[in-house]
């Protein structure tokens, strides 16, 4: 979907997306959306037809505009990394760092990721968009890469390996509030994030029998 200047439709998409991400579809009313977007209530049905159609449009917009570079993409732009075991290990570490730093960057709003998370846990009519735009598109390359790193590996094994980063990243994004409460309201700071990056990268590197970089020891 191509969107130019911030018109009513775009404003509605973004306001609705953030509200749905924060509270869930059923907890958000069309009046809340109209208020947040500073748009008349009737505009929702004029532009989208229904609340559900607005949700699907917002979800589709987010999926198609989110770019979360995986390991395979990094290796495509820096092919020399794939030539040596040390380079491949470094590429895995860089991917973990890029992915998690980006996801937890406080200057970047995280509602788009959380909206996707909601569709994962409570699928709606937007589920095919999720599967097509996120699951299939984002996973496929890294699955193929794993099977290149470990010839003969099963699809399941490849799927689980490339999921180690994403599943854990998603959990800590999702569980931020209770985790911080558990830690006595100490926020998940950069130290925590560094530990997570190092642990995930190290385990993924060791699982494909690559040498662990010195900085992870």
């Amino acid at each position: 979907m191509d969107i130019g200047a911030p018109n009513t439709k775009t404003v509605l998409l973004l306001a609705a997306g953030e509200l749905f991400a924060d509270h869930g579809f059923d907890a958000v009313s069309t009046r809340m959306i109209a208020d947040k977007a500073k748009v008349n209530l009737g505009g929702i049905h004029y532009h989208f037809g229904s609340k559900e159609a607005l949700y699907v449009a917002a979800f589709k917009y987010v999926c198609e505009n989110e770019e979360r570079p995986g390991l395979a993409k990094l290796l495509n732009t820096q092919p020399e990394l794939e030539k040596t075991p040390e380079g491949r290990a470094k590429a895995i570490l860089m991917t973990c760092r890029n992915f998690l730093d980006d996801l937890f960057d406080p200057s970047k709003p995280d509602w788009k990721s959380r909206l996707i998370l909601r569709e994962i846990s409570t699928p709606s009519s937007a589920l095919p968009i999720l599967v097509r735009e996120v699951f299939t598109r984002d996973f496929a390359e890294d699955i193929e890469l794993y099977q290149r790193l470990k010839p003969g590996a099963s699809y399941d094994e490849a799927m689980i390996w490339q999921g180690m980063l994403k599943t854990q990243a998603i959990f800590y994004l999702m569980a931020k509030t209770p985790l911080e409460m558990m830690r006595g309201n100490k926020p998940l700071d950069q130290d925590f994030l560094d530990s997570l990056i190092r642990t995930v990268a190290k385990s993924m590197i060791m699982l494909v029998d690559l040498p662990v970089p010195e900085e992870l020891r």
Copy 2:
């Protein structure tokens, strides 16, 4: 909460818990709950006072009655496993297997786990119960164990290590439907579960510098 014979209150707790787990708090009406429990609508307010109080009661009931044995508990019942590196590695593998087999056992209803998952992703007034009964209680022992296995390790590192099993288990429980759709409606079968168990166990074992059991090679 001690509950004897299946009285109205218990029936309501269980019916409400399952519905909330399946659809979320806002998507479930008190009429749906009363219908499922085959209880009169007024009974909800008579026994619990409000829909929100019923949710909190159901959540508390689930948290207090769920027993998910961790690694530390296994070692307490079989202390001889902790004596050798091979035994410690085996204990980690057994914990992963027990945890995941139990979570994905088709004969066991998984709505209790999914209800907890919902409170994690969308905290409500029941959040303190979640933190106290699940996060603090379930995590503490394994965190302490990790620091025994790796003296001098930081709290964050220990937290992330013991979370490797739980975070990934939770993701696959949560994402079952879209994952199966991505796999062309092929279910997450025992082969997939075995791959997950093996991969998670292997990475956790290697992270604490223990020897990888022969069966995981």
